[in-house]
């Protein structure tokens, strides 16, 4: 059974204090890994797609990396506006298209 696990569940950072979030998966034949950001009371917002081990993507203070077993979302010198829940997801391996399995998310709070 495909599984996606995110850690930690919650992370409290001081402004400027860099850290990393983890997303580990047990799917075989990974066909991509996706990161989303979700603000309170809103729908998730797509951030990145990673397709193969060694790939990296960056957007402002966020950098996502992928290995064969896990992905990391690095937050460099975070600001309070980076506070959100970050979700990772992988495509189902039991369907040929269209379905994602989401992790439970990491709630990040950045204080001034």
């Amino acid at each position: 059974e495909d599984q996606v696990t995110q850690s930690p569940e919650a992370l409290r950072l001081q402004e400027g204090e860099s850290s990393s979030l983890n997303c580990s998966y047990t799917v075989s034949g990974l066909r991509g890994l996706f990161w989303y950001r979700q603000d309170p009371g809103k729908g998730p917002e797509f951030l990145f797609t990673l397709y193969s081990a060694g790939e990296e993507k960056e957007k402002e203070r966020l950098k996502a990396t992928l290995t064969k077993k896990e992905s990391f979302l690095h937050i460099t010198a975070p600001k309070p506006e980076d506070s959100a829940t970050y979700l990772c997801a992988v495509p189902s391996t039991t369907d040929s298209w269209g379905k994602l399995q989401f992790g439970a998310g990491t709630q990040v709070v950045v204080t001034p």
């Binding site: 066909r31 991509g32 996706f34 009371g41 809103k42 729908g43 998730p44 917002e45 797509f46 797609t49 979700l87 997801a89 495509p91 040929s96 298209w97 269209g98 379905k99 994602l100 989401f102 992790g103 439970a104 998310g105």
Partner: protein, 113 residues
């Protein structure tokens, strides 16, 4: 923002009543999804659609039905609402066959009393 709206945004209903939630998109995306999000469970797929009149079940489909008669509209119906269906419901759209790059609506908060 992707052109995706959900209606209603909030609804309170009584146990046993039918409820229909609407998702409308202006992006002409092929794939549409209904999720529910609950504390401790994260996002769970209810139903999805891969084209007009083409739908299939997700992992938590019991008690829910869907219909898609036009590309732009995807309806979720709770046939007889129960308190366990109190949740926040999100619609999403995608053009990706992997379903990876999805764009989500603002959500509908449903309370079943």
């Amino acid at each position: 923002d992707a052109g995706i709206t959900q209606s209603p945004r909030h609804k309170v209903t009584e146990t046993g009543t039918p409820v229909t939630l609407r998702c409308h998109q202006t992006e002409n995306h092929r794939y549409m999804y209904w999720y529910r999000q609950d504390p401790g469970h994260g996002l769970r797929l209810i139903h999805y659609s891969y084209g007009v009149k083409d739908t299939d079940k997700g992992e938590v489909s019991d008690g829910y039905s869907v219909s898609r008669s036009k590309t732009e509209d995807f309806l979720l119906t709770l046939e007889s609402a129960t308190s366990s269906q109190t949740s926040v419901y999100f619609c999403a759209i995608s053009e990706s066959t992997l379903g990876g790059e999805q764009y989500f609506g603002p959500g509908t908060r449903l309370t079943v009393t």
